[in-house]
Symmetry: C3
Subunit: 261 residues, 3 copies
Amino acid sequence: MREPDSLRSTVDVAAACADVIERVRAHSPRVHCITNAVAQNFTANVLLAAGARPSMTISPEEVGSFVAGADALLVNLGTFDAARREATDTAVEVAAEEGLPWVLDPVLIDRSRPRAAYAADLVTRGPRALRLNRAEFSVLAGAEPEGEALRRYALDALTVVGLTGETDVVTDGARVAAIRNGHPLMARVTAIGCVASALVAACLAVEGDAWLATAAALLALGVAGEGAGAHARGPGSFAIEIIDALDRLDRDLLVARAKVQ
Amino acid sequence: MREPDSLRSTVDVAAACADVIERVRAHSPRVHCITNAVAQNFTANVLLAAGARPSMTISPEEVGSFVAGADALLVNLGTFDAARREATDTAVEVAAEEGLPWVLDPVLIDRSRPRAAYAADLVTRGPRALRLNRAEFSVLAGAEPEGEALRRYALDALTVVGLTGETDVVTDGARVAAIRNGHPLMARVTAIGCVASALVAACLAVEGDAWLATAAALLALGVAGEGAGAHARGPGSFAIEIIDALDRLDRDLLVARAKVQ
Amino acid sequence: MREPDSLRSTVDVAAACADVIERVRAHSPRVHCITNAVAQNFTANVLLAAGARPSMTISPEEVGSFVAGADALLVNLGTFDAARREATDTAVEVAAEEGLPWVLDPVLIDRSRPRAAYAADLVTRGPRALRLNRAEFSVLAGAEPEGEALRRYALDALTVVGLTGETDVVTDGARVAAIRNGHPLMARVTAIGCVASALVAACLAVEGDAWLATAAALLALGVAGEGAGAHARGPGSFAIEIIDALDRLDRDLLVARAKVQ
């Protein structure tokens, strides 16, 4: 017998993740992205490859209408200027009014205190998920990114933590998924974390369980990364191949390759 | 007997388009681009592949001197902030003074009213061509993008309409070209419309007949897209292959592959 | 017998350059880049391929802390707006305080007088190296970019001149290296000069002799360009292949292929 709302085995989680990825393709959600200039083109192409429809304006005058017409929002702090902060404030406010899910990517907050303070403030404004690396988590949570601290932070902040690294860990405080897919070249391509966060937003648009949406996005990117790694001749071609691999990714491949616990 | 200024058959139009593309390579026109951050790198590489010389600054202090030294101007509204509007105002003014042709790309005006209003105002300032999709045309013209409405809009606005989609339609109100080249992956790569508009600008730099220049640009991109589609393994590699295909594109290939009416 | 600090033969220079490139991989220096939006993604991926760790923020509020935590700084004038000038002023000041080496890339100063004036001012603030093309040198130095003028300018400005073109010339006024590596497609890809400057910054981070660091960066890019040219089918794939080639570049290949005098 199986309880509702509980996913017990790798196969269950992988199959549920595959459902989410299929729904992204079926519904083509609009994902508005406030992200940095380094990541914008790559992010747009990754979202298109996954079946979503990206928009990218950061103009304070019109970001509100773009967010109001979107199905999910990405807030990436990779560029942190006054105009983007103003756009972010408006975007998050509109997302709250519209009940739109959003994900926060606190890029490089370990390198800048004002950015870290701004990220901490944003966490209080209701992101459904955070996607970050170990150094960024440590700054935000004031704790090492280990199992218990991750769970406690997710519970305290009422959000899902999607920690990426050699193994990705996704937790909402109650459930924990460890994803062992991926490829070493993912650490050699700029903005891979940023596109992971954008995929989380796309999945949040079609899946109300933010833990599952976050796991689906990170699993899909990890499996696509493995496919890309099989064809790439270095980090340049890897960044192209991972877009092609996401485009090809289907349910069977995702379930067959998933290393989720 | 053949009237001057009239192109009667597919072969005539395709050959005239091939002339324009050859002149871009021969004269290497300078094309100044006010465009969005998502599109900038791709646009610069597409222009270089076609033989043009791009510049991209949007700084209000110096955009005037870049435009004055250029052979054509692209105004793309994909990012719509105060600084870009100021740069656009200066650029369009300098283009008018210098008699420089320019093309307007009213990106996503169906998503933002202030952007649509700004685009409508820009149309009154004399772009030689508009490059847009169906949703954008509908907002700008207040009419469905069908044959008669396209012609009437071009006549009223004294410009050329280059409508892209499965079939591209180019009209100056009197003449209509329908271009059936292209590849489905063109809809899966970000900023393809933006680079189409940049190619229109490059062709306007070497061809005074804006209808022919616009048709040449869209035909070249469509044929390059077919070549790219033959090699691509997905949308990531397609975006690379289309640059390579534009670089290789020559008169014989363009005329042989053209599906223009 | 061999004098210290003097490199007499092609083999000596190439071997010394290879040492620098190996040190970049071994130490993974942090390189903060104030660069233009066209170049940002390509620059970040090139630095990662060479083994460095890029950061790119241009926000005036935090650029100081990023520079203080970096090992070298790139100042690229390809976008020249008020915010980037403010960020540059702060970054150069912090670099001076911290003794951090920095490189100036005066992009397109031949197209804009205010940009040229700003570049001339920056030269007085102590860049260890300039990376520029012939037109840019002519504007900055008020002289043709020939051997004697290059040497005199380097001596007067107390910097290293890294002039790129068909043959790259690197001089500190005393020593001159001519590098004949490279590939014609390097002139057909946007931002190749910008990434060359970023590699100079990465090499300055690990090599106190700015002449040698600049030569190492330009040699590595030239040899990688030759490798890329062997696989590329056009400028689109070339831009990808050069990243892969930089990633594969090792000491033996660099020394075997070097054409340095």
